[in-house]
Symmetry: C2
């Protein structure tokens, strides 16, 4: 079923599907990278955890009528998705100030951002994924004003759904990164992954960091942390 390799990124390999030119297999790797690839390591079991967490989240988003590339989980490390032309933007939604926002704009860490702040970064490793505005995006990322409006509305809806989902799992959704792609028919859908690699999650009770910051800052056991996220998500999804 799995065909030839289409491309390999920092976190996933992307394969064609034989006989189904409009589908892809995403295969999650055990690699962890941070600071645009400057820090690297491998964690046995990480690919499985991110695949399962992403699958749970995309299934939940599907039930809430969010259009996405997700078709189904295939096995521990792989999922079947619709092939898209990825829009080269990282769409970041921030509910609480942390990370680069606090450094660039001197907004105090933990400041509640209500309404949430949306940021666009140009997905380009050579340029270190720079922050851009809508005018830049229209020029660089082959999107119209109308596409950007749609993407932002979708991002804010996803934020509301995920905030609630994580809250039930005793996790605060601080910020997260989304990618969108265009299907063959031109429609824009949510693509890529949503995992502790792409979300900032704080334990709701203790404030403890429970995401890739554990790796970025060397402050804990990445696998144990991601395992906790998966368990809590499964319990909170089953409890409903």
């Amino acid at each position: 079923m799995k065909g030839s390799l289409l491309y390999e990124g920092k976190a996933k390999k992307v394969y064609h599907v034989e006989g189904k030119p409009e589908q892809l297999v995403l295969s999650y790797k055990n690699d962890a990278t941070a600071f645009n690839g400057k820090k690297k390591d491998q964690f046995e079991g990480k690919g499985r955890l991110n695949n399962l967490i992403t699958s749970r989240i995309f299934e939940h988003l599907h039930q809430q009528h969010i259009p996405s590339h997700f078709l189904k989980s295939l096995n521990d490390n792989e999922q079947l998705v619709q092939k898209t032309t990825i829009i080269p933007l990282e769409v970041v939604v921030r509910n609480i100030a942390a990370g680069s926002l606090t450094r660039r704009l001197a907004i105090q860490e933990k400041t509640v951002l209500q309404p949430p702040i949306i940021e666009l970064f140009y997905k380009n490793d050579d340029l270190d994924d720079p922050l851009i505005n809508d005018d830049h995006a229209k020029r660089l990322a082959n999107v119209t004003e109308h596409d950007l409006d749609n993407i932002k509305i979708l991002a804010l809806k996803i934020n509301e759904i995920l905030k609630r989902l994580f809250k039930q799992a005793d996790l605060e959704l601080v910020d997260f990164k989304l990618e969108f792609g265009r299907l063959h028919d031109g429609n824009i859908v949510l693509a890529d992954e949503i995992s502790p690699d792409t979300c900032r999650l704080w334990d709701a009770a203790t404030g403890e960091k429970m995401d890739k910051d554990v790796f970025r800052e060397d402050i804990g056991d990445l696998i144990a942390t991601y395992e906790t996220i998966l368990q809590r998500l499964e319990e909170s999804i089953c409890a409903k």
Copy 2:
């Protein structure tokens, strides 16, 4: 008439006006600074040239119904303006790719940007005037969505007027920076200066740089260049 010093910036001193709490005197200095103050020098006559150039330009914008702080030129170095509460944004309009845009986003220098690109920078020396988006501006600069829409519409109108004015003076308006302020009644008007310190201008025939880049890159005589800009502007304004 001129009262006490309100504040001193890198390019101008700002004075109160005795008996007129809603007016200010802007006094243009001979200082040149670049790279957020890291490069500095003094040029005899620069204050006069920027005051006269800014005055000509604001008079022209006034005739074209652009609301601004400008009241009148007082003498060689000083002008009378309406006091505003400056909105801490540098509003940059770009017609042709140059400078930081080419470095940050790898857009080739001289690429024509049609429609023009508008950028907002947060006016904050400690943070090195970082590029921001509309969501950041709403949070940091005390502006609403509606204010930002107004500011961008004004900026694009000003661009059209200035492109035409400079074209008549055989100059290409590559990009420029505007500041806006709020009058006592809450209305937003164009403030600050428009001069070769705040515009990128290329000779229409030769492509020669005729603005502060002469100082940034040490490639010519700043005073002679600014003198040429003033002369050409006066000729093109009189010719009408």
